[in-house]
C-alpha cells in the first residue's frame, strides 16, 4: 500500500487532521488506530469545552475551536447529535491567590474576545443554585464554554473524512516506522506495510513511543487521570463547575448524568489506566463538599484515561527539524479534545507549507530546546 500521509491515531486530533487535509484536497490519506473509534483518551475525556485559560495560546486555540464547534454539526454533515451545549464553565476561586490569578485571566480572556466575567460568590450561586459558597472567594464564568459529546463528534469527523476519501484502519497497531537517509520510507503495522514519506504522530498517550520509532525524543509523558459518572436525573445544572485548588471538574451532560474528574498529584508516570478506589473516595468527598446535593446520586461507572503532558502544559503542533516529513500533534496535557478543530487546521497548514492561521512558534517542539518553563499553563485539573 502507498499513502501520501499516514496519520497514527484516530482520536479527535487524528480525525480532525485527516478531515482538514482531505478538505484541502490531499489524496491518499491513511489513518491507523490500535483501538476502536474513540477508544483512547478522546473517548475517556470529561467532555468539556473551555476558553477560560491563563495563557494567550490556549485562549486563542480554544476560542477558534469553539467557533468551529458552533457550526460543526452542519459543516461535518453529521446525522446524529454532537451535543454541543453552551451553558458555560463556572470556575470557583477558593484562595486569595486564585482570586488574583483569575482577575488576570479574565483580563487576558477579554482582550482576546472571550466573554468571561468575574463573579462574587452570590452571583456564582445564582448560576448554580446548589453550589456551596462557604469558602468560595470569587468565581469566573464564560457562557460560551460548555459540553460536547466526545464519541459523536469524533464519529462526525471520521465520517466526514471518510466521505472525502480518507482510509481508516482500526484495531491495527503501528509496529515500526522505517527511516533511511533521514527520510521516512514506510510504516509497518500489524497487517500492512505502507510506503509513505509523511507521518503524523497523533497517538495521544502513546505519542512518545511513536517518536522513539524514528529516534525523535518528544519531551512528553503520560499520566492516568480518572473520571466517574452518575445515574441520569432531570436537569439541575447548566454549566461545568470547576476548581483548580479543590481539584475537581463536574458537569451534568445532556444525557442527564453527572460526569466528574480530578487529578492525583502523586500519580506515577506511565500507561496504567486502571480504575482505583482511591479516586472514588477522593472524588466523592470533593464533590459532596462543593456540590452537596450531588451526594444523593449513585455512581454508575468509573474509568481512567491518559493525559499526555508537555513541559509547559501547552500543545505540541509542529513539524520536526531533525526529520522532514514527521509531524506532531501531542502533549495536549489533558485538553486535546477541546482544541481539536485548531489542531487539525494548523497541522494541515504546516504539512502543506501554507501560512498558518496562528503563529505556531510557541506550539513548535523547538521551544523546549534549552528552555526553562516558569510561565506554564496553571489552569489545569
Amino acid at each position: 500500500m502507498k499513502a501520501n500521509i499516514v496519520i497514527i491515531g484516530a482520536g479527535i486530533s487524528g480525525v480532525s487532521i485527516a478531515y482538514n487535509l482531505a478538505k484541502k484536497g490531499v489524496k491518499d490519506i491513511v489513518v491507523f488506530d490500535d483501538n476502536y473509534l474513540s477508544g483512547g483518551s478522546t473517548g475517556r475525556c470529561g467532555a468539556g469545552i473551555r476558553q477560560q485559560w491563563g495563557t494567550k495560546n490556549n485562549c486563542i486555540l480554544a476560542k477558534k475551536s469553539v467557533e468551529f464547534f458552533e457550526t460543526a454539526q452542519e459543516e461535518l454533515g453529521y446525522p446524529r447529535d454532537i451535543e454541543f451545549k453552551q451553558e458555560g464553565y463556572l470556575i470557583v476561586a477558593m484562595t486569595k491567590e486564585e482570586d488574583i490569578q483569575f482577575e488576570k485571566n479574565v483580563l487576558l480572556q477579554n482582550s482576546l474576545g472571550i466573554p468571561a466575567v468575574k463573579l462574587t460568590p452570590l452571583e456564582a450561586q445564582k448560576i448554580v443554585p446548589h453550589l456551596n459558597i462557604e469558602n468560595v472567594v470569587s468565581a469566573t464564568f464564560c457562557n460560551t464554554d460548555g459540553h460536547l459529546n466526545p464519541f459523536t463528534v469524533t464519529d462526525a469527523y471520521y465520517l466526514a473524512a471518510k466521505r472525502l476519501g480518507v482510509k481508516f484502519y482500526y484495531q491495527e497497531k503501528v509496529l515500526d516506522i522505517i527511516v533511511n537517509n533521514n527520510k521516512i520510507e514506510k510504516v509497518i503495522t500489524t497487517s500492512h506495510e505502507v510506503l509513505t514519506s509523511k507521518v503524523v504522530n497523533a497517538a495521544g498517550g502513546y505519542s512518545k513511543e511513536i517518536g522513539k520509532m524514528v529516534g525523535i525524543d518528544i519531551p512528553v509523558y503520560s499520566e492516568k487521570h480518572e473520571i466517574l459518572v452518575t445515574e441520569p436525573i432531570e436537569k439541575i445544572q447548566g454549566p461545568m463547575v470547576m476548581s483548580f485548588s479543590l481539584n475537581i471538574y463536574c458537569q451534568q451532560v445532556p444525557h442527564g448524568s453527572f460526569v466528574m474528574g480530578r487529578s492525583d498529584p502523586f500519580m506515577p508516570k506511565g500507561y496504567n489506566i486502571d480504575s482505583s478506589w482511591y479516586f472514588l473516595d477522593e472524588m466523592a468527598k470533593t464533590v459532596v463538599n462543593i456540590l452537596p446535593p450531588i451526594g444523593e446520586l449513585r455512581v454508575i461507572r468509573q474509568w481512567g484515561g491518559l493525559y499526555n503532558l508537555s513541559p509547559d502544559r501547552l500543545p505540541i503542533i509542529s513539524d520536526v527539524n531533525e526529520l522532514p516529513g514527521f509531524y506532531l500533534a501531542c502533549g495536549f496535557s489533558g485538553h486535546g479534545f477541546m482544541f481539536a478543530p485548531m489542531t487539525g487546521l494548523l497541522l494541515s497548514e504546516i504539512i502543506l507549507g501554507e501560512k498558518t492561521t496562528l503563529d505556531t512558534t510557541d506550539l513548535n517542539i523547538n521551544r523546549f530546546k534549552n528552555a526553562n518553563f516558569n510561565d506554564y499553563e496553571k489552569s489545569v485539573v
Binding site: 473509534l37 480504575s275 451526594g295 446520586l297
Partner: protein, 93 residues
C-alpha cells in the same frame, strides 16, 4: 413484532431498530456500538443488553457468538450513592 417496539437496552432506551440501523452503517463491534448508542453504559452495566447485543452482532456479522466480544466491565458493580461513600469514609476515620 416491529423492530421499533423491541427494546434492547432498558437503561438507555435503545430499540432493535436502532441497533440494526447502526450495524448497517458499519459499526459492528460492541465497543463502537456502545459509544454511539450507549448500550452497556447504564445502571445495569450491560447485564440486560450485553447478551442481546452480542447475539445480534453474531447474526449480522455471521460470526460464532463466542467470538463476539462484549463490553468492557467497569466498576462499580452496583450503583452507590456518593454520599454513602463519604459517610463510610467518615466511619473509618
Amino acid at each position: 413484532m416491529n423492530e421499533k417496539d423491541v427494546i434492547i437496552c432498558r437503561c438507555e432506551d435503545v430499540t432493535l431498530e436502532d441497533l440494526h440501523k447502526l450495524m448497517e452503517e458499519g459499526y459492528t463491534s460492541f465497543e463502537e456500538i456502545k459509544r454511539i448508542l450507549r448500550v452497556g453504559m447504564g445502571p445495569c452495566q450491560g447485564n440486560s443488553c450485553g447478551q442481546l447485543v452480542q447475539r445480534e452482532i453474531a447474526k449480522f456479522t455471521k460470526t460464532p457468538i463466542d467470538k463476539v466480544k462484549t463490553q468492557k466491565v467497569r466498576p462499580l458493580t452496583a450503583g452507590v450513592k456518593l454520599k454513602a461513600i463519604v459517610e463510610a469514609l467518615d466511619d473509618e476515620s
